[in-house]
Amino acid sequence: MSVTMIELDGVAKHYDAHVAVADVTLGIHKGEFIALMGPSGCGKTTTLRMIAGLDQPSAGEIRMWGRRLNDDPAWERDTPLVWQSYALFPFLSVQKNVEFGLKQRGMPAGPRAAKAREWMERMGIGAFADRSPSQLSGGQRQRVALARALATEPEILLLDEPLSALDPHLKVKMQAELVRLHRELGITFVCVTHSHSEAFAMADRVVIMNEGRVQQVGAPRDIYRRAGNRFVAEFIGGNNIIPGNIIGHGADGLAFSSPLGALSVASSQPEFAPGGEALLVISADNITIAAREAGLSNEVAAEVTTLDFAGSSVTVFLEAAGGTELRAQMPLRDLETLSLAPGARVFARWAAADGYFLRP
């Protein structure tokens, strides 16, 4: 069902000795919202710039609809970018900014103005047509940047950290608006962000990058439920990562010896067999907290150290035997029924099927 629009094939970018992108192979589907995510310096922005033709790959090939794109100059690609700094032309009015791309394509003044109007209305900036960008707020500038990029009606829109310069409340609003815009337009969105909450909230698929390489590609939920490696498990946050050894088969699956004691893991991962080191990953929201011991297999006595409130959900930090830190995430309502406070002694437990292994 998904048609590949853009292919990156072993793409690398070196600046003298510095490697910005080491080796990226990735297919971007037509019409999807894909987020490139990773810590700063992971090569996500350079990858985006290479798609736009603003940086030239040192190795590898970029293809659009199967055609090699490497040697096409930026001004001959139809890959408009929404800049982190917005990069609006300060000497042009909002309307002239929005018209810029249309003008480059040789559209006559009349239809050009009409098309720009249409996009300004759509982005809710119609009232500012004659203003200078310097007279607008950050959120309004962002809309101008979007209108300017979309006015030529491209098949793809590139976004470089589109929300990073906005106030927190605007951020959430704009996030929803980008998702809506993507759904309405049906074109491909490629968005670079360092924030996993942004990426997971907006994208159909997320590409997690580190040190110039792709670490994992997948739907937000799949990545969250099954991190591909230790970097991803740590980077997306909210995971408990416990080192230990697989010692044999137990009633519920594999028996795992860890600082928390003997645990059982029912993961269908044939590559993990008894007799090796492994990391056990349990997502924080799969851990439940109980006041009393129930005698289940994965049950650990622990003490509550901190409570971290994020709106209606709470992350409870626990210290278990041997000083191992655990975190459990739960709705605020559940916390209130448990009446938890720092210092409380509780039992943390999870189902054997909720844990999975990673290579150390």
Binding site: W75, L81, F89, P90, S134
Partner: protein
């Protein structure tokens, strides 16, 4: 002690001092302008009455008229060429990184530090060889050498304020590099380009030394003025001096306003 009184005294002193310095700087020029309208032949008080006779005499003098025309041609030509070269040098500095860039910038800024006499002699020798000395273009060439660095400095200041993403943003929207130069870089730098045109025109219009060496029979106005002085002392000198001064002031003020506008835009940001 009364702080208010102290402040008032200090303020008065500062204003007075500033006025004195300006008086010292401008008194000679002012007296030139004042006596250029004096009916008497000798620059002494009391004033002999208002008269435009010296201006009439000056404007009737064909050598002065020719040198004024020469000066205007030279100033216009030098300004256009020097600003063009200054713009390209500033843009190269803005846009590219390359080996030897600091040497390039040092060389590009060097000419005004060379003593004009040396530059004049060198120009004469060089232009004599290639058959340019004694022509208006020869003077223009000499003036371009000293004017271009001023133009470069002004335009470079403006380019420093240009968001680094703007040029790539224009490419990204389908505008090729030359079109981007025309549609993004030129509109953005326009105030500094105009300021550079006026400043370089004024530098060229006032320049005496190189023009004296290179001009031959094609005298410019400053060269003519000195020749007149050497011949006889006449109040006509005051009239010519006032004219030269007026042209320069207009050019510099225009440049100031334009440069101020582009700096004002920076502050707003």
């Amino acid at each position: 002690m009364s702080g208010t009184l102290g402040r008032v005294l200090r303020g008065t002193f500062l204003y007075g001092w500033t006025a004195l310095v300006f008086a010292f700087v401008f008194a000679p020029i002012l007296s030139t302008v004042v006596f250029s309208f004096n009916a008497d032949r000798f620059p002494s008080l009391p004033w002999g009455g208002f008269s435009l006779q010296w201006y009439e005499a000056v404007l009737a003098d064909p050598t002065v008229r020719r040198s004024l025309v020469n000066s205007l041609i030279v100033a216009g030509g030098s300004a256009v060429i020097a600003t063009f070269i200054g713009f390209t040098a500033a843009y190269v500095d803005y846009r590219f990184r390359f080996f030897g860039k600091s040497a390039y910038m040092a060389l590009a800024s060097l000419p005004p530090t060379v003593p004009p006499v040396i530059l004049g002699v060198a120009m004469l020798t060089f232009e004599g060889r290639i058959g340019l000395s004694g022509t208006l273009f020869g003077i223009i060439a000499g003036h371009v050498v000293i004017c271009a660095p001023f133009a470069m400095a002004l335009i470079r200041m403006r380019l420093n304020d240009l968001d680094r993403d703007l040029e790539p943003a224009a490419w990204n929207l389908g505008s090729g590099p030359w079109k981007t130069l025309r549609e993004v870089i030129l509109p953005f730098t326009a105030p500094s380009i105009l300021a550079a045109l006026f400043i370089t025109a004024s530098v060229s219009f006032d320049e005496y030394m190189i023009a004296w060496f290179v001009s031959g029979l094609q005298e410019t106005l400053p060269v003519r003025v000195l020749a007149m002085l050497q011949g006889q002392v006449s109040p006509r000198i005051n009239a010519v001096g006032s004219l030269v001064f007026a042209v320069s002031v207009v050019l510099v003020v225009l440049a100031q306003i334009l440069a101020g506008r582009s700096l004002g835009a920076r502050k707003q940001k």
